[in-house]
Structure formats: C-alpha cells, structure tokens
Symmetry: C2
Subunit: 196 residues, 2 copies
C-alpha cells in the first residue's frame, strides 16, 4: 500500500529524475544519481519504478496527454463563428506556451532528440496537420497550404520561442500566444475569415 509518505518519495524521485534528465540527458543519468539527488535509496526507487526506462515512459506519457489538449484544439475551429477563430487560436497557443513553460524540464527531455521524443514530436505535428487539413476542407484554411509543412513550422517555432523567451523569463505565455497565434493564423487562413 502506498502511503502519503510514499507518494512524497515518489514525487521527489520524479522531480529529481526530471531535473537530471533535462540537464545531462536520459542516457547519461543513472538510477543511483536519481536517488542520490532525491536523498533516497535505490530500494525506494524500485518500489515505484521497474527501471529508468519505465520511469521515462511514464513521464513522457503524462506529458503527452497534457500536450494533446492543445495540439488537438484546431479540431473545433470549424464550429466557431469566423470572428472567434482568432481568439480561440491565440488562447490555444498561450495555453501551450504555459504548459511548456511550467514544465521546462519535461520540455527539454521531450525535445532531446531521443527516439521517444521524436515520436512525440511527430505525433504532435500529425495532429496539428490533420486538424489543419480538415479546416482546409471547410475552406477556412487556404487551399494551397501544405498542412504537414506548416505544422512542422509551428512546432519548430514553438520550441524555439519557449527556449528564447519562456526559459529566460523575457516574455510570458500570453504575449507569445498572441504573437505566434496571429502569425500562423494569418499565414494560413483564407482572407475573408479574418476579423481585420
């Protein structure tokens, strides 16, 4: 039975692992280092996780589910009145920047170029592209736009803006959401669908 004290140990192990994975890479981080940094024992680690790999999978699964809320936001654009599309897109981008900025260690881990990180990235690109293609069939998005190419641009830009502005504290999620949301929305929308 996992007690409250057990939950606290588990959280400490996760926080320790996230910090080390982000700083040194997953490969270079050992279970001994994770437990030492958390002030716990190897036995404590293996009470909660089968292996480092299982822990990484759990961390990224959770992160992915939280990301899905934002990457799937384009799905509902077709149901909105034209004047509300821009607000919806800006809010979605701002929410995404907030999630990534509140979880900078997980963001760094996911973007580290590991196989799992690449899969996560490809999945995000696909979801954004699928929703964009759907909005294209509804004539919201310009017909000559290539959804996958634009989705790749969006993901690359979001990554860069998080490193450049969120991790340095130079801009907040709302400022980035407004700029990136408008930039990409105006870049892909059919003219008559934009407010002004």
């Amino acid at each position: 039975m996992v007690s409250t004290k057990g939950e606290a140990s588990r959280s400490r192990l996760i926080a320790s692992a996230e910090e080390l994975f982000a700083r040194k890479g997953i490969h270079a981080t050992t279970v001994s280092q994770i437990v030492a940094h958390a002030g716990l024992t190897q036995a404590a680690f293996y009470l909660y996780f089968k292996s480092k790999e299982e822990m990484v999978t759990e961390l990224l699964d959770t992160f992915e589910r939280r990301l899905d809320l934002f990457t799937d936001a384009g799905r509902h654009v077709g149901e909105l009145p034209g004047g509300e599309i821009e607000d919806h897109v800006i809010r979605t981008f701002a929410g995404l920047f907030r999630l990534l900025g509140d979880n900078t260690n997980l963001t760094r881990i996911a973007l580290q170029g590991t196989d799992r990180g690449e899969l996560l990235r490809d999945r995000i690109v696909s979801r954004i592209a699928d929703n964009m293609a759907n909005n294209q069939s509804l004539a919201i998005v310009r017909p000559e736009v290539e959804p996958t190419l634009v989705a790749e641009s969006v993901v690359a830009s979001v990554e860069r803006l998080v490193y450049r502005y969120i991790m340095t504290g130079e801009k907040d999620a709302e400022q980035l959401g407004r700029q990136a949301g408008k930039l990409f929305l105006r870049g892909i929308l059919n003219h008559h669908r934009i407010g002004g």
Copy 2:
C-alpha cells in the same frame, strides 16, 4: 606558392573536415581524422591551416557571407511595388533553402549549438528582425508584429524544414520557398499590401 595540386589538396581537406564535423561534431573530430579521411598527411593540413579552430572559423565565415545575401533581402522590400513583394519574398526563401540544401554539412555544423553557431544564428535573426522593423516603419508590416520574435520563428522553421524535407529529398527548395514565403509574409503583412 600554392599550386593547382595544392588547391586540390586544400579542397579535399575542407570536404573531409565538413563531413566529419557534421557527422561527429567539431569537438570530437581531430586533425588526424581529417587528414586520414582526406587521404593526406598532417603536414598537408598545416600547410593550409594553423589549426582545426582556424579551419572552422574559415568555413563558417564563408558560409556566413553567403547566407547574408538572403538574410538581408528584406531590406529592399520597401522599394518594390506591392504586387511584387510576394514574389520577392518567395524567391528569397527559395534561394535560402537552395543554399542550405546544397551545403548540408555546413548547415549541420552551423546549427550544432557551438558558440560560433549560436552567434551566426543570432546574427541572422537580428538582420531579419532589423529589416522587418524597417518595413514596419514603412507600414508594410502590421504594427503589432514583434520583429525579433517573428525572426526567431522564421529561422527555427527554416532549420526544421531543411532537415525534414531538403535533407531527405522529399521537397525541393522552390516548393519550400513558396510555402514558407507565403506563410510568413501573410502572417506579418498589412492586408492591403498582399496581392490576393
């Protein structure tokens, strides 16, 4: 005096170095490896370069001068009739994708996250942002656009599109130039400046 044979050796050393730097990183590549891969001797290397560092500087200086032709293209937008802006921007993006695609090793080296690569990237972002700010003062670019933020997005997108489409041979420079050029131009332009 450097003979034609000397020039050929120098070119072989440069090609060998570019390939190894791109594949293994600058730090992990030694002069011995560069000369072995080129089928030459250490003596040949030191005939043309003082050190590995000097060679890296020369490679990136040359690359930077060639990149400048494209990153500075926004400077002349204000002189163009409105209808020609889009063509000019598309041609510029296509030229940039062609240069990066024709020099994939140098592109990888420049983007490797070395100090010099970071400087090069920052310089490109600044040039694009400066020209965008100038075009904003001419009312070509929308007033609320933040030039540096958009320039960061442009550079991040170009990098990603090169890796994803040019290095895999999936799309050519013209296709990418058209898509990226239109995406970012429409994202930042004042409405009345776009053709249709």
